[in-house]
Amino acid sequence: MTTLTPEIIAAHQLTEQEYERIVTLLGREPTYTELGIFSVMWSEHCSYKSSRLHLKKLPTESRLVVQGPGENAGIIDIGNGHAIAFKIESHNHPSFIEPFQGAATGVGGILRDIFTMGARPIAVMDSLRFGPLDDPQVGARNRRILSGVVAGIAHYGNCFGVPTVGGECVFDPSYNGNPLVNVFALGIFRKDEIFYARARGVGNPVIYVGAKTGRDGIHGASMASAEFTEESKQKRPNVQVGDPFMEKLLLEACLEAMRTGAVVGIQDMGAAGLTCSTCEMGSRGGTGIEIELARVPQRETGMTPYETMLSESQERMLLVVEQGREEEVFQVFRRWGLDAVTIGVVTGDGLLRVRENEVAVAEIPNRALADEAPIYDRPHTAPRRTAPMEGPRFSSRNLTNDLKTLLAAGDLCSKRWIFEQYDYMVRTNTTQGPGGDAAVVRIKETGTSIAMALDGNGRYCCLSPREGARLAVAECCRNLSTVGALPVAATNCLNFGNPERPEIMAQLVEAIEGMAEACSFFDTPITGGNVSLYNETLGEAVYPTPVVGIVGLMKTAQPVTIDFKLYGRPIVLLGGLGRCDAARFGSTQYAKVILKRLWGLPPALDLDYEKRVQTAARDIVSAGLAGAAHDVSDGGLAVALAECCFGASGVGAAVDLDSDLPPEILLFHEGPSRILIATAQPEQVARIARKYRVQAPVIGATMRGSLRIRRKGVVLVDCDVKSLRAIWEGALEKALEG
């Protein structure tokens, strides 16, 4: 038997105190296998030990929430007897080490989280962050990572048959050494068809289904809980390999097996594989689980118990089935050509008991693993901040050229190169696909629609994590409101650096508090999500990047889209021109792209005004008054107007802004609470705006072929739509393919 030296314990990323806690909980020294089991279950990735204390501050309930955090995904009631399950999860570390498989298995993991609850996945979105593609040092690597990640997502999602309906993609040097790949999935089921990951009924068999277990992905969870060093590239074997075809079979077979009524509980084997699924199901069910490793289907010979328990081989599920009804379930899996094997039994003693050829190799109370992980109140000071409060003096020589430069910038240009690689239409529900403010899928079963959007803003959060997180929630809700949907629930993915550094921990705490405040205000409780820490390479943390995914409910109808369709239509700027001072301008795309600086603070947000603007927008859209609608965000008003001109019809706009703001700020500030609306009935739009005490100036009208922006009669921007569009559409491909 291996002696557990301090080196071995340290290599498992367990502290001395944590090891002592293990000894206390067990009442003895752990075996090597048990040490491995504890190390993954107590890893940051599985235990949330640094964030748990603060995550409690998030609102998690509303009258629509059926299931909040703590299960595989959150669930909300959408009416008509149906519910949706949804969650976002990160796969940052694997995607850096092996972009294609890292991203692919990220999609696979979140899809399993959805269908393990009995829901059929109907939409996926991705929030991606990379280093700049033209970075002088690592541009080539960034391009390779982006191409690999996109191809990996496409490979998995397209083959599985779930549409990838939207997302976001942002570039910043802060992600040079640590890209972020956050994947959101959403599924639908009937409310009476929900399955939980609970092991109930002593004597019920525990059944293993799906791919065989190999040595891949061992320690994936603890890898995701450490910073990157030069040696990280050697961790490539820790990244799993995905098989979307197997996953598709698992989906169909699991949903069919659930319909037999014989399935008591079910959980996918994701991070920490067999270990996590067994002890969590036991812990949630208040039971124990005993398994025999010799029965686990294995792809390699000579695997040790340690390896079998920690393997993160993909596309595997664990089921607890009613005793005596195994054959009904086996029959379904046989029909789909899948391995299904009874590997154990539910017990009454609350223990995770692992045997190999009838010899016990681990015996740990489930609760010790799943619920007794240490919780840290890590010290936090003021958030890390390197940007100055004051920015440079600036004065633009040519605002039209500035607009062109912005439209070609990575964050703002068309993402067509990316989203055309995704099948965003399969299942024939996508009424608004990628490129809109929010994605919309209709629900055939209920005759309603679900809108969804992802938002994060590392740049804002870097200047103020609290304000940035509030802004992310506000923008996400605004995106939904712009298409006419009522935001009802959220999921979050918190991407931060090393929480053991107080200034990083402070970013996390403030972002969570900001998000909690905004989510409470908009009545969009967080029903689940994921925390990804240690996003650092060689001591350099990424921007604090909380990403929020929010879903909204709406009636099914042709969605209102961004693009201007007819000329001569008045353009209303719901919410008004907004305000911005020099300090708040330092967080804009203009500051980043044109001035190449970052300073000051994020845009100022008035939550109450924001909510009224959004309510007004929903009323306007659902009254059928909006021919086009687009929220003003990154790049400000000028970029938003340009984007409205990029539809198939080539309709442009002429606006005249009545403002005393300096031209650069007027055109490009990113003040929230603003939505552009083209309408044939401006008076009715104005009436709704008045009802909510919201400004709604008519700033101009759509016109043929060009975009012209004036301030008090003086032309600031004048350009034909065709050339603007060519720049916007071609930029990403040009950056990638040179």
Binding site: A151, N158, G161, F245, K248, M425, R427, T428, R442
Partner: protein, 234 residues
Amino acid sequence: MRFGVVVFPGSNCDHDAWYAVRANLGNAAEFLWHNDPTVGQVDAVILPGGFSYGDYLRCGAIAKFSPIMAAVKRFAREGGLVLGICNGFQILVECGLLPGALIRNRSLRFICREVKLETVTTISPFSQSSEKGRILRIPIAHGEGCYYADERTLDELEAEDRVVFRYVDNPNGSLRDIAGILNRERNVMGMMPHPERASDPLMGSIDGLAVFQSMAAALAVNQPATACHDHPHS
């Protein structure tokens, strides 16, 4: 009349095709399982899109060995209508019901977008409800959709009026802009674009319905109403 939609392991547009026929066209439709030795009582067969058997080998290369494909071949030989969409088209060329091959897109990337198709011929049970020269807006979603065949085959296809649809702006490098073709007997068609995704006004186009309407019309002529066994389907 009844449409049968084949479900291979890895098919993922099976339900969409079924829905287009049932809900959008208003016709009877049922699923056929890949292991079934016969196509049963259906009057037309649809091979749907997806990744049959994972398509880790050449697309469609494994599906051609499935029991249902032997039945589909018999059905086709007897004059039954067979429509292959996307992966279904790939399976049809793999099993020799249609000539040529589908290779990787010229860009080497998967492409999902709506494209414009020109109706080249209406002398077929898959396009008779369209008009010659009519432009249809129908989406594509494939990584291996570049139609390839030798010159003689291409000449033959054109000489025999067997090209049903051509791309207006060729998205994938298909030779002679070919998007859909017929067999010599004109009862089997393969096409890379997805008509089932353009059969519902909510999806932005209903041009794809022309394909299913043509099939329904062709079947209605061939079969007197009394012979049409339309059972209720759950």
